[in-house]
Amino acid sequence: MNILICVKQVPDTTEIKVDPVTNTLMRAGVPSIVNPFDACALETAARIKDETPDTKIVIVSMGPEQAKVALTECLAVGADRAYLISGRGFGGSDTLATSYILSCAVRKLEELEGKFDIIFCGKQAIDGDTAQVGPELAEHLGLAQVTCALEAKTNGNTVQVRRKTERGSEILGVEMPCLITMTKTAYEPRYASSRKKREVAKQEIPTLDENSFEIDLTRAGLKGSPTKVKKTFTIPQNSTGVIFHEATERQSTISLFELLVKGNILQLGVRYGNE
């Protein structure tokens, strides 16, 4: 089994705060992490490898040199090989351009590492939150896709994927090769041992740039991106609410209740809801 995982290094958005004065993101000091959904993809691949030990796990990430830190983390957790895709013509890519670049890189990686049976992506990257790169990569490569997977297991030449749906979940069977995007799994991603961390610290991570594989550069970067960000802004969060903090909960509750009834927010005698 030959598995490729697309991993993005992202700022830990749970640590990001909005500056209350300037209303801009305070990104300084925010740690960079492996996108959590990509970590779920790696764990799922590692579980497939536990079952089928002759599985190879290859990681690819497009980003700046610094993203090698994320790649090294993946190697420490159990990936076999890692590649960084980095080039000046790649900056400013939207999802269509990113997925195009990744698709060109995947073709090159298949020359180096052999055909991939499964390509995993995270459901979405927690910085952009688009959930588009996975399906768009599948389209570029002409692969079958399953999105929002909770679990994936191989069985002969098919993968059984449990996928989240609005009503619960469904198990789909899909033949390899295919592309699967993982959402948060019920199981936690495994940790790297310190021995493994020391071992992979020296492992070389090759960088592929625009000269390393065939690519139409007019379809990459800013100029290859159909969507343009016109502006970004934050929503100021000023508390204007009426908050009660009286001597006892009973007093606070009575005060709040009176206000809600007076303001006609709670209309007594009338019951709302789903009939």
Binding site: T13, L25, A131, H140, V146, K164, G168, P226, S239, V242
Partner: protein, 339 residues
């Protein structure tokens, strides 16, 4: 219908019974205001095996035209068959803009379609308007877990496509006498060529009874609820108000309540009349999906909890003391009214 009509399309997602998902009907609303700005018409797209119910809804909620694709291969959603049919329609009619619900289905289909068309897609929008200056739709969406909003244009490619979160827009007024022009298209995709096969469907036990997106009142519990027993208290308040129970991800991940109840970035987006957050700190991933509720009420022991920043009303206090008092007050009031 003209071949080169410059229309705005709304995808009417259907459920397993062939009924329209609310989000498609909601999108007819901004669909109308956006297409009017461009002098266009709103076309609803319905793909399924039995489409009567969804077509009737799309008509009553004000579509100018409805394009229907029917076939047994569309009985269940599959990426392969739906992307094929939708793409064939777009190639034939060349719409200017397409709105799709940002549901699990919509977010599976839209990127596949956008990539096949080599056009731009803006995911998970929470605001839509018309950018007069450039003549494009301005798609506004949250990024960085809801910390940052981005306004995005797709100036040089058509169609411009966006997925829009459920419950962001209200459905238009229903008018059962409204008539739409109906167009049927014969587009077929061989079932054998659908590469994903359904093996088994696992329904959440309480899925049928939980309608967070349609709820008028939601009472949500988080880590502060402390365990599955704590959720009985949340349920009692919801019952007293005729509301539905929601939850934070911590509560769901801890196994206190099923995931059908989760509100947030990885759960449902909601917009009830009243949202009561009990023992929820107000992490950005939670706020992103409930902050447009009409009235937000927070109950939390920590006066510094971020939820108080967006709450219209709140009590700093223990939810296990506040909620029983609250229920007692409701019962008392209803009692005096009954006398």
């Amino acid at each position: 219908m003209e071949m080169n009509s410059s229309n705005l399309w709304v995808f009417i997602e259907t459920n397993e019974k062939g009924q329209a998902h609310n989000v498609g009907l909601e999108l007819l609303n901004p669909g109308h205001s956006l297409s009017r700005a461009q002098g266009d018409e709103v076309v609803a797209i319905v793909i399924g095996q039995h489409t009567e119910a969804a077509v009737a809804s799309a008509e009553a909620y004000g579509s100018d035209r409805i394009i229907i694709v029917e076939g047994e291969e569309y009985a269940r959603y599959s990426t392969d068959a739906f992307a094929y049919a939708f793409h064939a329609l777009i190639t034939k009619y060349a719409p200017t803009s397409i709105l799709i619900g940002a549901t699990d289905l919509g977010r599976d289909l839209a990127p596949r379609l956008a990539c096949r068309l080599k056009t731009g897609l803006t995911a998970d929008c929470t605001e839509l308007d018309f950018d007069e200056e450039s003549g494009n739709i301005a798609w506004t969406r949250p990024a960085f877990g809801g910390n940052l909003m981005a306004r995005i244009l797709c100036p040089n490619h058509r169609p411009q496509i966006g997925t829009v979160r459920p419950a962001v827009f209200k459905k238009p007024e229903q008018d059962t006498s409204h008539k739409a022009e109906i167009v049927r298209e014969e587009i077929h995709f061989s079932i054998e060529n659908i590469r994903t096969k359904l093996i088994e469907e696992i329904l959440d036990a309480d899925n049928e009874t939980i309608d967070l997106e349609g709820a008028e009142i939601i009472v949500s519990g988080g880590r502060g609820v402390g365990g599955p027993d704590g959720f009985k208290v949340i349920q009692q308040l919801a019952d007293a108000l005729g509301g539905t129970v929601g939850a934070s991800r911590v509560a769901v991940d801890s196994g206190w309540i099923s995931s059908a109840h989760q509100v947030g970035q990885t759960g449902k987006t909601v917009r009830p009349r009243i949202y009561i957050a009990c023992g929820i700190s107000g992490a950005i991933q939670h706020l992103a999906a409930m902050s447009s509720s009409d009235t937000i009420i927070a109950i939390n022991t920590d006066p510094e909890a971020p939820i108080f920043k967006i709450a219209d009303y709140g009590i700093v206090g223990d939810l296990f003391k506040v909620i029983p008092e609250f229920i007692a007050l409701i019962d008392e009031q209803i009692l005096t009214m009954a006398v």
